[in-house]
C-alpha cells in the first residue's frame, strides 16, 4: 500500500490550496533526502541492512543513494574516521550543495568510540558540523532510521533563510569551511 505524505497545514477551498512556501519546500526536502553513505567500517555494514529489504530506508524517501557529493543532501558518516581520512571527509562535505545535513552514525563517527588513539579522529564534529548523532556500536538499523527521521524533522521545519544567516556562516567559518 502506498502511503502518501500528508499535506502541510494551509487554507483549502474549491480548486485552491494555500500554504507557506517554507512548508511546501520543507515537506519536499524531508521526503526526498538523497544520502551519501560514507561507510568506513562496521557501522557501514549495519547501514547495508538499513538499506536492505527488511528495514528499507527507501520507505522514507531515501531510495536514491548518491555516490557523488554534488547530488547528495545527507552525508551519512558510518564508521571510524582515521585522521588521515579527515581531509577527504571534509572535502566531500565541501563538495555537497546546500542545503546539506550530516548524520554521525555510531560511536566512532560521533566521538572516536573505542578508538581513543593517536590515529583516529575523535569525532567527525572536529572537522565538519553534525546535525544528528546516532549512538551505538554499532547502532541497530532501527536507530539509524530514527536518526534519518530526525534529519527529516530538521529538513521539514528548517527556515528557508537559515543558511543565509550570519549565525550559519559563523558556524561554518568556525570549521574553516569557506562560505559563498
Amino acid at each position: 500500500m502506498v502511503k502518501m505524505v500528508e499535506a502541510p497545514e494551509g487554507v483549502e477551498g474549491q480548486g485552491f490550496f494555500a500554504t507557506s512556501l517554507d512548508k511546501v519546500i520543507g515537506m519536499a526536502r524531508a521526503n526526498s533526502l538523497w544520502p551519501l553513505p560514507f561507510a568506513t567500517s562496521c557501522c557501514g555494514i549495519e547501514f547495508m541492512a538499513t538499506m536492505g529489504a527488511n528495514y528499507d530506508l527507501a520507505r522514507f524517501g531515501s531510495e536514491r543513494l548518491s555516490f557523488s557529493p554534488r547530488q547528495a543532501d545527507l552525508l551519512m558518516v558510518m564508521g571510524t574516521i582515521a585522521k588521515k581520512m579527515g581531509p577527504v571527509l571534509k572535502q566531500v562535505y565541501d563538495q555537497m550543495a546546500e542545503p546539506k545535513w550530516v548524520i554521525a552514525v555510531g560511536a566512532c563517527a560521533s566521538s572516536g568510540g573505542i578508538f581513543d588513539t593517536y590515529s583516529v579522529l575523535q569525532g567527525i564534529d572536529r572537522i565538519i558540523p553534525v546535525d544528528v548523532y546516532v549512538p551505538g556500536c554499532p547502532p541497530r538499523p532501527e536507530q539509524i532510521i530514527e536518526g534519518v527521521m530526525k534529519i527529516q524533522d530538521l529538513a521539514r521545519n528548517e527556515n528557508l533563510r537559515r543558511r543565509n544567516s550570519d549565525e550559519y556562516k559563523k558556524m561554518l567559518e568556525s570549521y574553516n569551511i569557506e562560505t559563498l
Binding site: 585522521k83 588521515k84 572516536g112 581513543d116 588513539t117 593517536y118 590515529s119 583516529v120 575523535q122
Partner: protein, 170 residues
C-alpha cells in the same frame, strides 16, 4: 654444504660456520629459530641466506621493529622474518640499534617487498633505512611529527579533555 631438509639445528650450524662471531645470539621461540646479528651485517648475512643454494630464503615475510626503552644503547630491534618456499623453512633475524641513531641498511636491494615494510617501520618507529629509494610515511598522516609506536608517546589521542583518567587506569 648441502642439506636435504632444513631444520633449526643445521641452519644455525651453517650460519655459525660461515659467520662465526657475527652470530651474536640464538634461541628457539615457538619452535622457530631466532638469530641476532650485528646491525651493520644485515645486508651480507641476509643476502647470503637468500642466495645460498641450499637455504634459498627468498621470501621476506615481514619486517618490523620493536621498542625496548629500558635496553640502553640497543633500544630498537629490527626484526626480519624470512621464509624459504622451496625448503619450507622459516626463521627470524634480529638486529638491535640505538634510539639515538636509529640507522640500518635497507633491504630493498635484496627484496622488493622491503620497500613498503621499511616505510612502515620508519613511519611508526623512526628507523632510518639507509639506501631506501623513497623513505617517507606510508600509513600515518604526512603532517605527523613523531613516530607513534615509540613508547615515550601516549597511545591515546592527547587532544581529548572530556575523559576522566581514573576510569581508564592512568
Amino acid at each position: 654444504m648441502s642439506m636435504a631438509e632444513l631444520n633449526n639445528e643445521n641452519v644455525l650450524k651453517a650460519l655459525t660456520d660461515t659467520f662465526g662471531d657475527a652470530i651474536l645470539h640464538s634461541e628457539m621461540q615457538f619452535g622457530m629459530l631466532n638469530v641476532e646479528i650485528p646491525a651493520d651485517r644485515n645486508l651480507d648475512i641476509i643476502g647470503w641466506l637468500k642466495s645460498n643454494e641450499s637455504l634459498k630464503m627468498e621470501f621476506l615475510t615481514d619486517l618490523c621493529a620493536v621498542h625496548y626503552p629500558e635496553q640502553k644503547g640497543r633500544e630498537l630491534a629490527v626484526v626480519y622474518h624470512l621464509h624459504s618456499w622451496t625448503k619450507n623453512y622459516r626463521m627470524r633475524i634480529k638486529c638491535f640499534i640505538s634510539a639515538q641513531k636509529p640507522e640500518i641498511a635497507s633491504l630493498t636491494g635484496l627484496y622488493n617487498a622491503a620497500n613498503w615494510m621499511e616505510r612502515e617501520t620508519f613511519d611508526f618507529y623512526g628507523v632510518q633505512f639507509s639506501g631506501h629509494p623513497d623513505l617517507r610515511r606510508i600509513l600515518n598522516m604526512d603532517e605527523m611529527d613523531y613516530h607513534p609506536l615509540l613508547k615515550q608517546y601516549a597511545l591515546e589521542d592527547e587532544t581529548r579533555d572530556d575523559k576522566d583518567d581514573s576510569f581508564f587506569g592512568r
